[in-house]
Each structure stands twice: as C-alpha cells, then as structure tokens.
C-alpha cells in the first residue's frame, strides 16, 4: 500500500523539478552585470558616522584579528561606527546570512574576506543595490560583485623588497643565496624572477646570486638546506628566504652555529616566529605585509566610496590616513604597497 503512494509522491517531485528545453554550460547566455555608477567627485569630503562592518572569513583567527584591529583604528579616525561579525566556521554559505543581516542593518560599507568568491556574490550585489559599498580583502570575491579589492602585495613589490634587503645586509657586495619553498611554488618563483631582474641592475652589480635551494616548506628540509648552503659556499653573506617556513628554519640554524653574526638571514617571515632571532641578533631585518594596514586601508577605501570620492574605477584617487595617497588600479584593485620591514626597533609592536 505505501509503496505505490510513496513512489507516486516521488515521481511527482521529479516532475516538478524537471522542466523542458535544455540549458547547458555551452549554450547559456552569459549575463554580465555592468554596474552603472555616478562619476567620482575627488573633492567630496569623507563622511562622518559611516557604519563600516567587517566580515572576516571566520572569527577568532589571530591573523584576521590583526587585520580587523587596523580597521577598527581607521574607523575610529573616520568617526564612524565599527563592527565585526562573522561565522564560527569558514564555510562558503555561512557568510551569506551575515551579509543579509548587514543589509538589513543598513550598514554603509561591508568589508569582507570571501570564503567563496561566487557564493557570496548574489548577497553582495543585493547589498550594493541597497547602496552599501563592498570592499574585499584577503581573498577577493568575484569582481562583478564588489566595488574594490585591497591587494596586500604585488609580485613586483615583494621581489624588489627582497633584493633591496639582500643588498643592505650584504653591505653592498658579496655572495647571496635563496632558500625557497618548492621548485614549482608559483608565488615564490614569481618573486625570485623579479628579484633576479632587480639584481641585473647596475646598483646590484657587486651582489652575486650563487644558488637557489629548495626547502619544500618543510622545517627540517629547510634547516638542512641552510646548513648545506653554508658548507658549499663558505663566503656566503646573506640567505634570502621568501617563505615563512624557510626563513625561520634558516634563522634557527644560523643562530645555533658559528656563522651567527657573519651570515645574515632575511626574507618574508612572521614576527612571532622571528622575534627571538631578531632579539638575539641573527636576523637584522625581514619583511611581510602588515595585516593591520590591510584592514586600515579597507576602511578608508570604503569611506571614500561611501562619500562619493571614488567609484572604484581605475585611476580614482583617495588618501588613506597615515598610509597616504592611493590610486585604484585595474578591476578595482588597491595595492597596499611595499611590504612592512621588521627590525629590532619595531618588532614588538606586531603580534601575529
């Protein structure tokens, strides 16, 4: 008795869902939404009392806490209302409910790190239809559904910074080596390429790149590679490690060896991992983008958008408080700028 009725219900459900015609990936008409926006007024004053809400990938992540702390500082300077909301899990869909809530609360700006570039899109566009400006950071949403994206660093910026630090710490001349991640790591290879281009310039002529070693972003392998570099190249002056794993491993080796003070370690690292090596003199200087500045810049970009100073179009200009002037690049991208350099003087100001 139950079999036929349940089967009937099931078939009915099928029939409801099955339509006619056929839309496939290849024949669907692509709908590109072109946002028509008013012209920017560069002289518009930044509004006060703007409601700026931060929606990181998830709450209670130390890195994103530093980012949003910068945002809080900037919103205070702007005399706005700061708010941070977010899901406990970094799932694609849980952010959407929060975006919807922010729409209902009539925020002026939503600053969001998208867990899924597409899943948040319909909601973000609903927010924009409700005159809310959307700025993304950390991980961008689809560019059709946000007004601006804060890019933490460009490949050129990082590569140039690595070359500059190597030159300074080698004292202008000598052998240097690179301790990278894996041989096919996209980011690291791009940075090393830029670094090589820099090294070809006349001011770097006395610097010689003798070897690129790969520690595979594995602590032990990186440690051994650092050891190997110094055995093969006893005159080495600087190890440049454009990876947080590599720089920490190299610094640990040098700090416990007789090369301490003679061979410099620099590159990209996390202040909390590198603090002890900066304090014991093994590392004089290393770099990374400052996460707090990302949140700070996002607040000013959002305020400039909400005040009509900029529309997010390429070439729009605005000033982001203590960080200075910025120009919007292609596809609404705003590049934070050269990475922050950490030395014994400033490292205690950073906790991430």
């Amino acid at each position: 008795m139950s079999r036929h009725r349940l089967a009937a219900v099931f078939t009915a459900t099928l029939l409801v869902a099955a339509g006619c015609g056929g839309t496939t990936k290849d024949n669907q008409s692509s709908s590109t939404d072109t946002q028509t926006s008013a012209a920017a007024d560069p002289n518009a004053k930044l509004k006060e009392g703007l409601k700026i809400a931060y929606l990181p990938k998830q709450l209670n992540n130390p890195y994103s806490d530093v980012e949003t702390s910068g945002g809080e500082e900037a919103v205070k300077e702007l005399k706005g209302e700061y708010k941070k909301v977010g899901p406990n899990d970094a799932s694609a869909s849980s952010q959407v409910s929060y975006i919807n809530t922010l729409i209902q609360q009539q925020q002026d700006v939503i600053v969001v790190a998208a867990n899924d570039p597409n899943a948040v899109c319909p909601s973000l566009n609903q927010a924009r239809a409700a005159k809310i400006k959307v700025v993304t950071f950390d991980s961008d949403a689809n560019k059709t559904c946000r007004d601006a994206f804060i890019n933490q660093a460009t490949t050129e910026g990082i590569g140039q910074s690595l070359a500059k630090m190597a030159l300074e710490q080698a004292g202008g001349s000598g052998d240097i080596a690179v301790l990278s991640a894996t041989p096919n790591a996209t980011n690291q290879n791009a940075w090393i390429e830029v670094m090589k281009t820099e090294l070809a310039k006349p001011e770097y002529s006395k610097l010689k790149l003798v070897k690129i070693a790969y520690g595979n972003d594995d602590d032990q392998k990186s440690f051994q590679e650092a050891q190997g570099l110094l055995q093969s190249y006893p005159n080495l002056k600087v190890i440049v490690a454009p990876t947080t794993v590599g720089i920490a491993a190299a610094a640990r080796y040098i700090s416990s060896s007789s090369y301490k003070g003679k061979v410099q370690v620099t590159g990209l690292g996390l202040p909390n991992q590198m603090r002890q090596y900066v304090k014991d003199g093994t590392v004089k200087k290393f770099a990374l983008w400052n996460p707090a500045d990302i949140g700070y810049l996002a607040a000013y970009a959002g305020a400039a958008l909400a005040s009509g100073q900029i529309t997010g179009a390429e070439g729009d200009k605005f000033t982001a408080g203590k960080l200075g002037p910025y120009t919007i690049g292609k596809d609404g991208e705003i590049v934070l700028g050269p990475p922050t350099e950490f030395t014994t003087d400033n490292i205690d100001k950073f906790n991430f």
């Binding site: 349940l6 099928l14 909301v85 899990d89 694609a92 597409n118």
Partner: protein
C-alpha cells in the same frame, strides 16, 4: 487513536508566534519584506529536509546522512554541468541520485536489519567523502542565471505584494502540504505512528514495517538531493562541503517541534514551527549583533529545554493524575 495535537506542539507554535511578534516590534529591520525573504531562504534547506526526517523519526529511526547526500548531489551537479549536461537533465538526475543514496541507507537498515543511527553515521562520512572525490576542493559557479535567480528571487506576478513572497516559499508550502496530508490524514501516516509506537505490534497488525521504512529513506534521500540542487543554485556554487552540519540543525528543529526521538509521537505543524522558531530567533539575534558563539548557546539551550520540558511536564501530570486516582479511590 486520538489524533489531536499534543500539548508541546501547541506550546511551540504559540511560542513561535510570540517570538515573531516580539521580534517584529522590538528588533529593528526584522519585520520587513526583505528580511522575510532572507529568512525563508535560510530556513528552506532545514524545512524541506525536516519533512521526511519527521516521518523517519516518528517511526523511531533517524537519518543523519541527509547533509552529506546534499553535498554529494551538489558536487555531482557541478560535475555534470562541467561535462555539458543541460541543467534540465541535471536537476531530476540529482534527485534520483539522492533517492539512490537513500535507498542504500534503506537497504542496509531494513534489508540487513542494521541500526539506522550507525548506518547513517557511516553514510554521512561515505557520501561526504564521495562528494570530495567528485569535486575535490574546487567549486563550480557558472550556473544559468534564470535558475539561480529563481531560487533567490521573489514572485513577480503579485505586484501588490511588492516582492515579499520568495519563489521558494511556494515549493515549501506545496511540499509541506503533501507531507502534512500524508502524515495526518492517510492510513500511511497512521501506520508510521503505529510503527514508531511499537514496530512489532504494527507488524502483527498487518503493516509492512520494513517496506515502509525503506521507502521513507528513499524519499529522504530524494528530498536531500532536491535540497542539494536548491542549495547549489542559491549560492551559485557547487561544492563538496555544501550543507555540512545541516543534519544537526534539522534533527534539532524536528525535536524542538515536539517529535519524540523514541518515535510514535509528534506532528508536522509542530516541526514547521520548530524550524521557524530556530531560524527567526537566529535572525533576530544576529540583527541585534549577538555573536555567533552566543547564538550557538541559545539554540543549544533551547534544544535541551525542548527535550527536558515535555518530560518534566508529563511526569508532573502523571503524579497529579495518580494523586487524583488515589483520592477518588479513598473517597
């Protein structure tokens, strides 16, 4: 058998109405048509999966694999779409795949006589694992806008309602009516309560217990497949991790709605109220900037109360009746 609403169902329905009224008055931006749409979209997956789940729990069983079935159909939807199938083929196909996943549960439980809790915990992991095999960490996002837009959109043929009625609400109402009528007004529905109250007695009364349960799992899987499709279209994103954890929200709502986890008791109106109550409460608290952790505490506490209170009430009532009996015996 008496078929009137149990008191807990009535209480939960009244509580839900009360919460809705208070939230509309006290929470800014709660009682707007846009927020209504957001809420309906948030409760869509929970309410649809809760319909067959109510049937299953009424018979004294459980299906914890629903969210993973959802993830599996979502992944497959992305995979099929990438391989050039038309969306009109993919949607029914996904529902069938959901039904097959449910049939597998049903076979293990009724064919081999394994406990449903253990089986569906197993397939919870299995189906989610398969979803990851299909799509890995990637996502498929380029579904046609006339479908994704329909799921998030509102009825346009009712201009006087000004976009206040989400399209998916119709789907919810139709399915809720079908399930409600079956559970409360047909012999099938009555047989489900009989199975939940005492499966052996039901068997001797001529109810085909195993076959009924098997089909419940098939329907549960099919609905999970449908919700996988709707979920994918709502977020325009087919991912293996879609809907993770949804099974707990569904079971929570069903129990909050007064369905006994031991089977044999409960009503669909109570379950619908349970879903609305949980969603509305979360929505209102988020609008009031209550943090995610506090939200979890509130819903958790509500759930514990929903299990605790009916027991306390019934034991008090039992005591009172016993005392009355004793008094009448004494006089």
């Amino acid at each position: 058998m008496s078929r009137k609403l149990a008191s807990w169902d009535t209480a939960i329905i009244l509580l839900t109405v009360l919460v809705l009224i208070i939230a509309s008055l006290a929470v800014d931006n709660f009682g707007t048509s846009r927020n209504f749409t957001f809420m309906v979209l948030d409760l869509l997956p929970i309410i649809l999966v809760a319909l067959p789940m109510t049937f299953i729990i009424v018979t004294g069983e459980i299906d914890l694999s629903v969210a993973s079935t959802l993830g599996l159909t979502s992944s497959l939807m992305g995979w099929f779409w990438n391989h050039g199938l038309s969306i009109e083929t993919i949607i029914p196909l996904c529902i069938v795949i959901g039904a097959v996943a449910g049939a597998f549960n049903g076979f293990l439980i009724t064919g081999l006589g394994l406990p449903s809790l253990a089986v569906t915990i197993g397939t919870l992991a299995l189906y989610r694992g398969l979803a990851l095999v299909v799509l890995g960490d990637s996502a498929v996002a380029d579904f046609p806008f006339n479908y994704t837009g329909w799921v998030t959109g509102t009825l346009s043929w009712l201009p006087w309602l000004d976009g206040a009625v989400p399209n998916v609400l119709i789907l919810i109402v139709v399915l809720a009516l079908i399930f409600g009528v079956i559970l409360h007004a047909t012999p099938i529905g009555r047989s489900l309560y009989a199975i939940g109250a005492n499966a052996q007695a039901a068997h001797f009364a001529g109810i085909r217990v195993a076959r009924t349960k098997f089909w419940l799992y098939v329907v549960s899987g099919a609905v999970a497949g449908l919700v996988g499709v709707l979920w994918t279209l709502r977020y325009s994103s087919a991912r293996a991790d879609n809907g993770a954890g949804l099974e707990l929200a569904v079971v929570a709502a069903v129990l909050l709605g007064g369905v006994s986890i031991f089977g044999g008791k409960g009503s669909l109106p109570g379950v619908l109220a349970g879903v609305v109550l949980l969603t509305a409460l979360q929505n209102a608290l988020r609008l009031e900037d209550v943090s995610g952790q506090a939200l979890n505490i509130v819903t958790g506490a509500l759930l514990v109360l929903s299990v605790l209170l009916p027991n306390v009430i019934s034991s008090i009532r039992g005591n009172w009746q016993r005392r009355k009996l004793r008094q009448s015996a004494a006089s």
